[in-house]
Amino acid sequence: MKVLVAVKRVVDSGIKVRVKPDGIDLQGVKMTINPFCEIAVEEAVRLKEKKLIAEIVAVTIGPKQGAESLRHALALGADKAIHVTTEARIDQAVQPLDVANILAKLVERDNYNLVLMGKQSIDDDFNQTGQMLAGLLDWPQATFASNIQITDGIAQVIREIDGGLQTVKFKLPGVITCDLRLNQPRFASVPNIMKAKSKPLETIPLDKLGKLHNSIQITKTEAPAIRKGGAIVENVDVLIQKLRNEAKLF
């Protein structure tokens, strides 16, 4: 069985971002693999360790630094990587439907049995790509996975939903998007980072697989409004008065 894991390179979650007129300032900012994508890679590696899958291929779309996320995936245990190169801003111009179309092309080219991805990326929070990919391929999907079991070509996935947990079962091939509690990714050890350097990495220019339509336009990026200081009130009457007249709650 072959698994495709899609990973995205995003601004590190610990960084305090700054806003420029054309969007988030990415200059010199620390970028890392999207946390949910890393969870997807870890899950693929664990499935391989359980001998349920034979090969893991990691793919990313982005500029040349995107290869760092692929090397990280290879260091975690992926076997091969594909770098779809583009100079477009990955936090704005690389959008879910276009990504899904490109991934669909790769699935058709290489015949994967399973696609694993993060549920969403932490820069745009779209939470659409996995679902759209399944739609384009006409495959079953299970999103927000917190547990994945595979037996004899049947995937059983526990999904985190608003009301609790839902278990779904489907025959592979399919798309599964990964949520936070699925696993805790391992650290890439130095020896594995070194081994990753010699694992195959294929580079494909984006226009050979698809096109970026930019159908969603970013019109404005703003920093959150500065929080106004609170005030300590002396008694309940003053509180009610402020809630009514200033906060206009009732």
């Binding site: 590190d12 010199g28 620390k30 890392t32 391992r186 650290f187």
Partner: protein, 552 residues
């Protein structure tokens, strides 16, 4: 010994290199580049605890390009140039009398050694990113998020490498699901380039008694902010230094303010850590400094985008330890080559890295554990020593107050030029320099206004600092009675000297109890130096944690 050796042979995973360099700062990267230039067949690895190159580097920085010109003679014509794009255009020095007044010292009174014409305003972090790219292009392996936890010794007690830290250990010491044992990086030579007060370096210095024949090192804390300002308040290449207010006469220190392309102001305050008033907060002094017209005139319409802090060496010439040990050597600020009078050390760090590289490559067949004493001779006959010797008495002359220091600086700069036959040594152990709390004057610090001055925790967010919270605290209390004594005798100065609010005394039923917020740590090392009774030892946390400086 045999048991330790056998355990070493069989337990942890090992990788082998010719040269191991700890720290991807200017010293470490210069050494790596120079080795590969002289001998491309030598395998070189650099380990760096930060998650990114430059992530833990903090410096002013008004850069003297002497070593850069030696390492990359054609850097100005390179296609991918180093980030030296802001030549110094103006050089100002002010003595601040109080919160409003100041006296500018005309340029003709600057001794030639501190004139900045020919230097560049840079971000040392950006320079390290560039140097890292050069090193990797030459085949150097650089592993970020890889912390050197301790040195590895062979059966003859010689250094044969460094063990990296284990990852994935929970706060209670148990292994988490992603536990990963560190590995042993074994090398014929290990160059320690951890910067000032390096955690591995200090243990090596202790073990081999490298400070036997020199003065103890002295330290200052440097706090820094980077601001973005509108073009009308920006003058590319303007360099400004001040002494005096807000620090009192007896406290060594001063400020720097540099205009860097484009529209960026890099400013900060250095406070000598031998200050005696436990109520002093270097962070608050820095916030106060910004209110002075000579500083606020540039910042008033700007936005603060970064904050950080780090200690720096102030011992100069007298505090340079023995530079080699069996199996390795010290370079950069780990050795202590900062020129205190110029407040510049990056060029000396780079040069020392290059000399370490040249020493290693000049030797045929370097054996593991060998001590290359030729390195110390090379440093002593280089311009590093010339300039450090020349200004050796500068810091010591401040032992009375800043005026004795400035006067001596002028005397030395114009008249004696380092040729004076005497030596002024003035080391005071920082953790023992405190007045007791009953004798210490109270200091009232104003509340921050949120526009020019900031609350420490708000500012801390601008350092990007973070650590995995579920790990043992990396700040080890090595004297159990320490916190109690600190609060009883000195009112807990660690609550004020830490630039990240790591140390807090919480009121409990049993009295005040120490709480260590290790997650906030900026890896500045001030607590390792200034803690009353030296009750804290800074050790390296899980790699990848710490500040995320960018462009600092």
């Amino acid at each position: 010994m045999l048991k330790k050796f056998t355990r070493f042979l069989f337990s942890r995973e090992k990788i082998q290199y010719d040269v191991l360099i700890v720290g991807a700062g200017p010293a470490g990267l210069s050494a790596a580049i120079r080795i590969k230039e002289l001998d491309p067949n030598k395998s070189v690895v650099v380990i760096e605890k930060s998650g990114t190159l430059g992530g833990h580097i903090l410096s002013g920085n008004c850069f003297q390009p002497t070593a850069m010109n030696e390492l990359f003679p054609n850097w100005e014509k390179m296609e991918n140039k180093p980030p030296l794009d802001t030549p110094v255009s103006e050089d100002h020095f002010h003595i601040l009398w109080n919160e409003k007044l100041s006296l500018q010292i005309p340029h003709m009174f600057y001794p030639s050694t501190i004139r900045n014409h020919g230097n560049y305003v840079i971000s040392l972090g950006d320079l390290c990113v560039w140097m890292g790219e050069q090193a990797q292009a030459l085949g150097v392996d650089i592993f970020t998020s890889t912390a050197g936890a301790r040195v590895i010794f062979d059966e003859k007690d010689r250094v044969i490498g460094v063990a990296t830290g284990d990852m994935g250990i929970a706060k209670n010491g148990e292994k988490k699901s992603n536990y990963q044992e560190g590995i042993d990086i074994v090398a014929n030579q290990t160059i320690l380039c951890e910067g000032a007060r390096g955690s591995i370096t200090e243990r090596v210095i202790e073990k081999y008694n490298l400070r036997k024949d020199c003065e103890p090192q002295s330290y200052g804390i440097g706090l820094k902010e980077v601001w973005e300002v509108p073009p009308e308040d920006f003058k590319a290449g303007l360099v400004q230094h001040t002494v005096g207010w807000p620090l009192c006469r007896n406290t060594y220190g001063g400020s720097f303010l540099y205009h860097k392309n484009t529209n960026q102001i890099h400013l900060g305050l250095v406070v000598g850590l031998d200050y005696e008033n436990p109520n002093l907060s270097p962070y608050q002094e820095f916030q106060n400094l910004k209110k002075h017209p000579k500083i606020s005139r540039f910042l008033k319409n700007g936005t603060c985008i970064s904050y950080g802090a780090r200690v720096l060496n102030e011992g100069g010439y007298f505090s340079i330890p023995k530079l080699t040990f069996p199996g390795g050597m010290l370079a950069g600020c780990s050795a202590g080559f900062l020129n205190v009078m110029k407040i510049k050390g990056s060029h000396n760090a780079m040069k020392s890295g290059m000399l370490a590289a040249e020493t290693i490559c000049a030797k045929q067949n370097v054996e593991p554990g060998q001590e290359l004493v030729e390195y110390e001779n090379a440093v002593k006959s280089s311009w590093i020593y010339d300039e450090l010797y020349r200004s050796r008495n500068f810091k010591g002359s401040f032992k009375y107050n800043i005026y004795s220091g400035l006067f001596y600086g002028a005397f030395d700069g114009f008249i004696s030029k380092g040729r004076e036959p005497w030596n002024i040594k003035s080391h005071v152990k920082e953790s023992e320099s405190y007045l007791t709390k009953d004798k210490a004057p109270q200091i009232k610090y104003e509340k921050p206004d949120g526009k020019l001055t900031f609350d420490l925790l708000d500012n801390l967010a601008r350092s990007g600092t973070n650590h995995e919270h579920d790990q043992p605290a990396h700040l080890k209390v090595i004297k159990e009675a320490g916190p109690k004594e600190s609060i009883n005798l000195y009112d807990g100065p660690e609550q004020r000297f830490c630039p990240a609010k790591v140390y807090e005394f919480i009121d409990t039923k049993e009295g005040k109890k120490l709480q260590i917020n290790a997650q906030n740590c900026l890896h500045c090392k001030t607590c390792d130096i200034k803690m009353p009774k030296d009750y804290i030892r800074w050790t390296v946390p899980e790699a990848g944690g710490g500040p995320n400086y960018s462009g600092m």
